[in-house]
Symmetry: C2
Subunit: 443 residues, 2 copies
């Protein structure tokens, strides 16, 4: 009889861990408990369901519970793990469907409890018509609310706020985007935010920056957002001001958190407790740029975490190599990709950091239909070590961020970037690749 693997949470990290463990070692008994009604789906696709581009939530599902079962993985949805005793390796599970509590045991445990939205401490957030967008249930609720809605207000201009602004516009809503800081994508430098603001406004989004939200007005159902700059009447509100890891279960059983507040792991995704792993948005990653833990709650990272944990549990050699902090997203026509540290973040870290920001194109100057493309490079003065960067483009050309991420993962310098033989042909790049133009600008 094989050992028993229990996975707590079945979305990205958890689903990956379960599938990989079973695939690598079919002797293992693998069980997934998922609190919600859905497992193994691409939460990053939710905005495209809201926009109507993807016709049904079900399309986001990678593996159904039935498919897991065929692979020998037992998946229990609407099952919430409420307590874990690591000394006995037992857990208490509440079955929301049957309304009953039962005990289970594990040899290996994977904590993949994810993250949840933070709700700002203002009056009125508990009303009907106020939403977050994190999981399929959120998506279902929002889809329903969209049917009657004409106006929407979005609190927070990070990835989710920006993607949903586009989705809501595509559904024909009037959209007001409210951001406390002075620009969209406030965790990155201002030039990128300015490009985003322009693109949002070109597509009819009202962008209010530097605005403090003080309350959500309404009597049971939200009717307006009250802010430092005036009142925004609305039919629904999306709160997208940030998320935090669901670490309560881990903490209660004695799993150590790291400096970021998420679960600390090693490169095999092991926690401080024996045979207890963590994966996905609840877990930290090693940050290749700063050589210390970092919390990067993104879908691809969660999948890597899960796959690593699953392989290690199955007895395979596997390591998670950490993150460079790479991310990309689309806001209307604009593709925005970033990696490593912004200038602001690098200065905050104490680096003598500088940046260049250049405008180039995604094709040769003479190539018809070529579009503007922007590159930011952040580097340390003196050593010229690369610390981060951004590429903003009107298409997949923003993926040249990957070459920069490759350099960041190994402590590359501006000279290393200049040494790269990047792909050139008139439909794809100017004869000097925009990354190289930016690197030359440093000199």
């Amino acid at each position: 009889m094989g050992k028993r693997v229990v996975v707590v949470g079945g979305v990205a990290g958890g689903a990956s861990a379960a599938a990989k463990a079973k695939r690598e070692n079919p002797e293992l008994e693998v069980v997934v408990y998922e609190k919600s009604g859905w497992v193994s789906y691409g939460a990053c696709g939710l905005p495209y369901v809201l926009s109507g581009e993807i016709p049904r939530l079900e399309k986001l599902v990678a593996r159904t519970p039935e498919e897991f079962r065929k692979q020998g993985v037992m998946v229990h949805t609407r099952h919430e793990v409420v307590d874990i005793d690591p000394s006995l390796k037992t857990l208490t599970v509440f079955d929301h469907t049957e309304g009953r509590t039962f005990q289970d045991r594990y040899d290996h445990l994977v904590l993949a409890t994810g993250a949840r939205p933070t709700i700002p401490p203002i009056p009125g957030t508990e009303q009907a018509g106020v939403f977050t967008l994190r999981n399929m249930e959120d998506g279902e609720a929002l889809l329903k609310a969209l049917e009657g809605a004409r106006r929407a207000a979005i609190l927070g201009a990070g990835y989710i706020g920006l993607e949903v602004a586009e989705a809501f516009r595509k559904r024909g809503l009037e959209v007001t985007l409210l951001e406390a800081r002075d620009r969209p994508l406030p965790h990155w430098d201002p030039e990128v935010g300015a490009l985003l603001k322009e693109e949002l406004e070109r597509h009819g989004v009202e962008v209010w920056t530097g605005v403090r939200v003080t309350a959500l007005r309404g009597s049971g159902r939200v009717e307006a957002v009250e802010t430092s700059e005036g009142v925004v009447p609305t039919d629904l509100v999306l709160i997208a001001t940030g998320i935090r890891p669901n670490v309560e279960l881990a903490q209660a059983m004695g799993v150590a958190l790291g400096p970021t507040g998420a679960i600390a792991t090693d490169e095999r995704m092991r926690t401080n407790l024996e045979e207890v792993y963590a994966a996905g948005d609840v877990a930290e990653s090693f940050y290749q740029v700063l050589k210390r833990p970092y919390w990067l709650p993104l879908g691809d990272v969660a999948n890597k975490h899960g796959r690593t944990a699953g392989a290690v549990i199955a007895g395979k050699e596997a390591r998670f190599h950490g993150v460079a902090g790479t991310a990309i997203f689309k806001a209307f026509g604009l593709a925005v990709a970033t990696t490593g540290l912004s200038l602001e973040a690098a200065l905050k870290e104490g680096y003598a950091a500088k940046k260049v920001f250049i405008k180039s194109r995604d094709g040769a100057h003479y190539y018809p239909g070529s579009q503007p493309l922007f590159v930011e490079l952040v580097y340390e003065e003196g050593t010229e070590r690369l610390l981060g960067g951004a590429v903003v483009a009107f298409d997949h050309g923003a993926l040249r961020i990957d070459a920069l991420a490759a350099l960041l993962s190994r402590g590359g310098t501006v000279e290393d970037l200049l040494a790269l033989d990047l792909a050139y042909a008139p439909p794809f790049s100017p004869v000097w690749d925009p990354l190289l133009i930016a690197a030359q600008e440093v000199r």
Copy 2:
């Protein structure tokens, strides 16, 4: 009075060298002699003029002779350098417009004489209606010939042949593409060639592979291509079977060639002769993968050569870091990018090489409009050192080749590739980037 820099050839390498030298040291007297009537243009754009997408040849010009003059660089077109005496640092120039010969002198010399098409040793190639596509004059001639033409035959399915096949189809011609080897893009592995063949045929190109061309029939004007597989009637023929460096002038003055047959240079683009530099398609590059000279006659490489030579002449610190062999091109909807060694080339080099070839997508499985995307990785067995690879996509997503090129430039392994934090969002990539899927496939 500043020193005198003479640049022989003014297209990509030469124009870059001249502009950079003058910009970095305005004291320098910089003179460019160009045999043809055009300088400083993007020859890579010629297929898009033939297709009609770019309305005029002039659009390809980056700097006109007048613009050079304003920057203090004297440009003489239709001036052919016919002899150089490196002991006296003098040169003999023939002015094709005036029909006269004169002497000049230099302190620094840049050889940027480019390359020319190879013509297969078969009867009939000297006839009217037979073309090559290398420079603006070729483009002019072809544009004129296209006016009356209904059918075209292209000899050679490398980059130029493939790009021109698309251009000719866009002009409404019947196109037959004839390739001696068994696939288009014969210098790369068969899977990529098969994708290309499918795309070409989908767009109405007749693709004949494994075919030996024996003669061009016609009596003064070409009428048909005679091959081992039959006769192809045609109104015009494009010969695109390869190019070779124009090294005769260099050889005559005692400049050493390298193992590839192009001019040998160091990382400052210096030749064996004092104050004689080489740049562009006439010069070799250092190959980062094989750590030895390599001839990669591409526009971006030529520009890097020229910029390096110009900076060094101006007294600046500058180095050319060599090439990874990266290239990209478009054939109808398909973007094909390669870097480093194909499996075939790696085996020929004596590596215990293997490859993986995977099919993925350029977006999440659920993202509407996402398209197939293919990745090949070539690596050394045992060490798992990356030797090369290809990305074939239906758009700029093929630029993820740049991340692979970044690894190749530093001897990266499959594990280094797995360590990369590549950009993920549903419109741009599956949650596992296709490069990572390919790397996992190695295991």
